[in-house]
């Protein structure tokens, strides 16, 4: 049960490569104070195979190797390393989910699955998910054109080496009709504490929903908006081309970012300011002093801390440390990081300790 000697140094120097935050948490790029990252995802299937959920085991295996062989041919625009998930245990899978490199579906579907990832963790191609291929590209900040440019090049290269299933009428054919057509899901992860605290978040989500955009929690469908983090993404994939999808998402997100900025300014003015200061400092106090921290409380406190840093109510903190803390305080990362299997109670203690170390607070 010995504590790591120096968590902070270990996290800073990278230690095991796992503890670098991925490309999506770099904290750079346009509007990154509010728009944490932009992600593009394409759903693709191969001709000549049933969709993954309908495949017999033997065919599923054949599909897996067929794709992996083709992915390993030279000439892809991204340097990808294929991770075979068969020998990967549940904890490591949960870490990949927390890093957004694989979906919960891929982690638990029982088929032979894998993911091809680049070193920066800005590209991840899932194999044998609900669709044969789910390619994703991440960029820090609000960068819909950049993620599209990269995923389009990757898609071109994939289509050259794999015969994709498509039709003139329906576009790319997918297992679920909610993805048919472009197969494109473009999403932006937003940190919206201002809108949540001032109870205006519904206004933002309603606006997005009016133009058929979905608003979800941090880990996609069905997940809760923990720590004031939201994902806005297109719902419609058929009948609107890729450019229109980019424009719709960009327009809605730009509007929401503007609202968040306006609300933040209002929260720092007049009588609201003292309440906001109180909220931020209470969160800091919790992070500095708490001995037991649940994942939910940690996310809530880190959200307030992140708000305090970006509104200059607090100084002396590196926003990248906060992003790193957001990732490392997740259950799987916490256990992997401490190299121990922990009970939930032990986890909460260890989380409190880890966050104090990471943020340079007193023990």
């Amino acid at each position: 049960m010995g504590a790591p000697r120096d968590d902070r140094d270990r996290a800073r120097s990278g230690g095991p490569g796992d503890f670098r935050p991925g490309a999506w948490l770099q904290g750079t790029g346009p509007a990154s104070e509010i728009a944490i990252c932009t992600r593009a995802r394409l759903a693709r299937n191969l001709q000549g195979f049933a969709f993954s959920p309908s495949l017999e085991d033997e065919e599923s295996e054949r599909l897996y190797h067929y794709i992996v062989d083709r992915l390993q041919l030279p000439g892809l625009p991204e340097q990808l390393n294929v991770v075979d998930l068969d020998p990967v245990d549940d904890l490591e899978r949960a870490m990949l989910v927390e890093r957004h490199l694989i979906s919960r579906e891929l982690a638990s579907n029982g088929r032979h699955t894998g993911v091809a990832v680049d070193y920066e963790e800005s590209v991840a191609v899932m194999i044998n998910e609900e669709d044969h291929l789910r390619a994703q590209v991440f960029c820090s900040g609000l960068q819909p054109d950049e993620v599209w440019r990269r995923i389009e090049r990757l898609d071109d290269a994939l289509m050259q080496r794999l015969p994709m299933a498509w039709s003139e009428e329906f576009g790319f054919l997918t297992s679920c009709p909610t993805n048919t057509g472009t197969g494109l899901r473009l999403s932006v992860m937003l940190h919206l504490p201002g809108l949540v605290w001032s109870e205006e978040i519904d206004k933002a989500t309603n606006t997005a929903q009016k133009i058929n955009l979905a608003v979800r929690g941090l880990y996609g469908e069905g997940s809760r908006a923990l720590g004031d983090f939201y994902q806005v993404s297109n719902q419609v994939t058929l009948g609107r081309d890729e450019q229109r999808i980019r424009e719709d998402v960009f327009m809605a997100v730009t509007k929401i970012v503007e609202w968040e900025q306006e609300v933040r300014e209002a929260l720092l003015r007049g009588s609201a300011r003292i309440k906001t200061l109180d909220r931020v400092h209470r969160a800091l106090g919790t992070l500095e002093r708490a001995q037991i921290l649940t994942s939910e409380e940690a996310l809530g406190s880190l959200s307030a801390l992140r708000f305090g840093i970006h509104t200059e109510l607090l100084d002396g903190f590196d926003p990248l440390d906060v992003n790193r803390a957001l990732l490392l305080s997740q259950p799987a990362h916490l256990q992997r990081y401490t190299r121990e299997t922990l009970t939930p109670e032990e986890r909460d203690q260890r989380r409190a300790q880890l966050l104090r170390d990471l943020l340079g607070c007193a023990p």
Binding site: N45, Q47, P163, P177, G181, V236, L238, D241, R244, R347
Partner: protein, 176 residues
């Protein structure tokens, strides 16, 4: 806890810090006894798709002695039954799109407010790579042969004749 009588429609998962530590499949009644209320549905959940599909009745009820409707009961590509598609809202293979086109179009209209694709396609976006082109042609030919075989077996002669012509054309262009 499960009654073993009604069909289990709800999976109750025990979560410990976000990881699944156990699960049980129960019917709606048992779930209620367990104190589990159904979660708020996202806009297009699988369940909602099932509802949508369930609502798609055949245009007219078949008369007792009427000729069977000229539609497919299951997909010739993967064998997925039309009823399964109706229930689950998931397609089994690319060929299901054609096999269940009648059901699919209104469903797509409801989900996307559109029935046809706009945007990029392999044919317009990929610069031609000779090896891949050969592979695509081969895949296309074998798909056509398979569809022709299915049409003949299903005694759909008009469709078979069309497919035979398509196949001949494709084979001729392949020889060139």
């Amino acid at each position: 806890m499960a009654c073993q009588k009604a069909i289990a429609t709800i999976v109750v998962m025990d979560l410990t810090e976000g990881s699944v530590s156990g699960s049980q499949h129960v019917c709606a009644e048992c779930a209620e006894q367990l104190g589990v209320t159904p979660p708020k549905q996202p806009k297009f959940s699988t369940e909602m798709l099932e509802d949508l599909l369930g609502g798609l009745q055949p245009t007219s009820a078949p008369e007792p002695n009427a000729e069977p409707a000229p539609t497919l009961a299951c997909c010739p590509g993967c064998g997925l039954a039309r009823d399964d598609f109706r229930q689950k809202g998931r397609l089994g293979c690319p060929r299901c799109y054609e096999a269940f086109r009648g059901e699919l179009l209104p469903l797509l209209q409801r989900i996307h407010e559109a029935q046809a694709h706009t945007g990029r396609l392999p044919s317009t976006s990929v610069p031609d790579d000779p090896e891949a082109a050969v592979e695509r042609d081969e895949a296309g030919l074998s798909d056509l042969r398979q569809r022709l075989e299915d049409a003949v077996r299903g005694e759909r002669y008009e469709e078979a004749a069309q497919l035979r012509d398509d196949l001949r054309r494709a084979e001729r262009s392949d020889e060139r």
